[in-house]
Symmetry: C2
């Protein structure tokens, strides 16, 4: 592409840089953010690469949406108020159709993930030539001392998740030719998996009463393990409480498949958090206020390790299976 | 690569996340930065792709160095105090040798670009599988109202640059087989071009007396044009004042080649800034304190446009030549 074409790309992403915290938006060497007193700035960054994080030929609208969504999901995991973002786009070639749809998806997500109804400001970025890749950094505000961290779980806390688990994993499995009897639904499921629901408003309110959360990107088993290690505690999870989509039963998926997808599949971008039992009513109020489905799935234990129960009965062999499924995946991304 | 190998990558980049502003470093869903009262947070992001921003096979130490250097250069352009950074690494495969050298280069730059002698903290990032690409976001502090912006130039301001211009452009030209009589020096010149000098300390002090700067990434002509347009003014540049390396004369480069490289080549990552004449002594003190070579190359004019003079005589045909050289480049990156 020539200079002219690359200059054009910028136009699709400019003009959406206004916001209460933006002292200087797009167009200089840096953007400038105001950070109010008593707040910390939460920072996260994630990359999506073609063929790794999304299938070649994916609808550019969905690409734009998910590129931002996986990052604001990390803000939700901290209970941060979404504040701004930057975007780096690498493309071999860019047609106006592609850019139009990609930017539409990106800004739709920017609107859906903001709390005040405005669009999350895009305050900078760059476009380069190369194999398709997108990197977003997202910025949020946390009241000092109120971030939900992985080391904040306490013994006897209840463990909750938002939404339902497993549909994105099924979409990816379909894309790889598994579950071939369901193939006719791939497009619709894949679309849902690329547009995770924003949990930002819920999470921001939750951060006042909760000190431990993570977003489910790698699957419940793997992500819960981060909390258990960092908090130096254990957990007991009741399988019959795991919320999975109606779709799974309607399409006669086996228990084994359902729990593999829901516990080890990944890509849900729902929240997992732990909460003191005496905060339950406050949680219900926040969930109701933000129309968020919340399910209690277990409890934090003093003894280290992760135990699964089925209607109260320990089934450790199941745990091993999920663990193996997770650990055995060829997994190609790692945050640090 | 398997999960295990990707987890290993993170280890090369962890443990360097301590700093006065870091409330929470690597290892959670987000990092948390403290931003002192009276300060704004400057944010910039840049991507380097193989074959576009660096030659295939480039020494990984130099890649690590430059990946961060181009970003802290943007902080310098704002006069921001370097505060923290994040790094996204995409690699097809990663050997320990590559990662060791890359991270060494990255952290050497992090040390060289910090002002307080500590290493600029790396507070987060991610590693993914895919064609080689690196995206850094860098964060700095600006006293409120003290950022050096592109729209801050005033009529009769003097125009200055730091360092010398053109050597990185020559290195790239050599890499493409031009200037073939100099080819034996390619490696050493390329190394210099990948390790631009940090202007961060100089720039941070300068921001107290200067309100307009830009870093020279696209070549002086192109970058100065950003200032002229944003500030709605013009400039007169004296060719005989342009600081270029001794190397050019020692190797008998023609005037034409010298000025093309120095004015239109790009990749210098030096600072161009404008300053009120009555601040000259303060500038000299700052330059001396930070051992920074500073050269006055011209003056801001009321009349729009860019005029070149040679020993005071206007040579507009030269300007057109440089302009064309710049505009005619197949340029593959664009910040917005």
């Amino acid at each position: 592409m020539s200079l002219g074409e690359f200059e054009l790309i910028g136009r699709y992403f400019s003009g959406k840089d206004k916001g209460q915290g933006v002292a200087l938006g797009i167009g200089d060497d840096c953007a400038l953010l105001k950070v109010p007193q008593g707040m910390n700035l939460a920072i996260t960054t994630d990359t999506l690469n073609e063929g790794i994080h999304f299938f070649k030929g994916t609808d550019p609208y969905l690409l734009g949406y998910k590129t931002l969504a996986v990052n604001v999901s990390d803000l939700a995991a901290m209970g941060a108020y979404p504040y701004a973002c930057t975007l780096s786009v690498t493309l071999d070639e860019a047609t106006p159709d592609f850019l139009e749809a990609f930017s539409q998806g990106f800004f739709d997500c920017a609107k859906n993930s903001s709390i005040d109804g405005a669009t999350l400001p895009l305050i900078g970025g760059n476009t380069s030539k190369g194999p398709m890749s997108f990197t977003v950094s997202a910025y949020g505000l946390n009241k000092t001392g109120k971030a939900m961290c992985r080391d904040g779980a306490q013994v006897h806390d209840d463990i909750y998740v938002t939404g339902t688990l497993g549909l994105p994993a099924l979409a990816v499995a379909l894309g790889y030719g598994e579950f071939s009897n369901l193939k006719e639904d791939f497009k619709e499921l894949y679309k849902l998996s690329m547009m995770p629901k924003s949990r930002n408003h819920f999470a921001y309110l939750l951060s006042d009463i909760c000190s431990c959360a993570i977003d489910l990107s790698d699957g419940l088993c793997g992500d819960l393990k981060h909390i258990l290690i960092k908090s130096n505690i254990g957990a007991k999870i009741e399988l019959s409480s795991i919320p999975y989509p109606m779709y799974f039963r309607e399409h006669d998926l086996s228990d084994d498949d359902i729990f593999k997808l829901a516990l080890a599949g990944g890509g849900d971008y729902e929240l997992l958090f732990t909460l003191s039992k005496d905060k339950r009513q406050e949680l219900i109020d926040i969930a109701s206020k933000t129309s968020t489905l919340v399910t209690r799935i277990g409890e934090i234990t003093e003894q280290n390790g992760l135990i699964f129960t089925s209607r109260g009965k320990i089934i450790s062999q199941k745990f091993t299976a999920f663990e193996h499924f997770y650990g055995g995946n060829e997994y190609s991304e790692n945050s640090f």
